[in-house]
Symmetry: C2
Subunit: 142 residues, 2 copies
Amino acid sequence: MLTIGNLAKKTGTKVQTIRYYEQIGLMPEPGRTEGGQRRYGDAELDRLSFIRHSRQLGFSLDAIRELLDLSDHPEKSCDEADAIARRQLRQVEQRMARLKALRTELKRMVHECSGGRTADCRVLEVLRDHSECLTEHDDIGA
Amino acid sequence: MLTIGNLAKKTGTKVQTIRYYEQIGLMPEPGRTEGGQRRYGDAELDRLSFIRHSRQLGFSLDAIRELLDLSDHPEKSCDEADAIARRQLRQVEQRMARLKALRTELKRMVHECSGGRTADCRVLEVLRDHSECLTEHDDIGA
DNA sequence: CTTGAATCTACAGTAGCTAGAGGATGTAAA
DNA sequence: TTTACATCCTCTAGCTACTGTAGATTCAAG
């Protein structure tokens, strides 16, 4: 039986985050001691590992919820899980492309700005200048 | 003179976002019409373009605030701007690495899961299985 | 039995917006 | 000129995914 602190350590999660997951229904309400402290078993450890790993891979809590639902009802088709993975893959490739452009720009900025005063430095112009970027005007959210 | 709506269109920003930037002091309080509507000039267009472009490049609002401060006081050293860019570059490379790993994993998931039932599908195990990942237990934040 | 770390609940705060209510303003056609 | 309608205003609340704090309680080791 694990305390919440030990579960946190084992999964690289903050204690509050575990309680938060419980609050939003991602984690089940665990058993309690006489005194009211949470105690966890292997099932909960597995579930939390799953959640954390999924988060590290970029899944939203909603996506994780879907996956856990699938996991809880294995008679459903795997196509759903596949669809979720495909959706995530698309998003990931978009983010990668954006980050690549960003990295190029930042590298250029760092190279061009080798000491001197702000007035002579192109860092700020690069960011201000509209024409130098392919302004797509779409979402920039994570 | 631009209305807030036109400024929004020109910069790919939502109207509310512009007001939000004003609220947190990133954008200055603009002039108003008799009736109290905001009107913007070229200076504000430039500033907002700068902000939006920076956001698209992944800068936090705090970092942008720093850059704008530099921009407002060009007598300061460019080293500061350079340091900000370097910090961002480091972060970007971290994110890229994480996304690369994620993409690999997702691709594998999509390939391995070609129809069938959840029970036979490795998608869920891949995410649950602790041993298959290099658990770093560091921040996963955007 | 005491001490001190860990836990409890409850609430507030974070970033960076986004959405909605309910009303005022600006503009263009009839 | 009037009227219609898009756009604007302020204010408040909500979103995601946590994180932090306060003050009280519980657990485990010595």
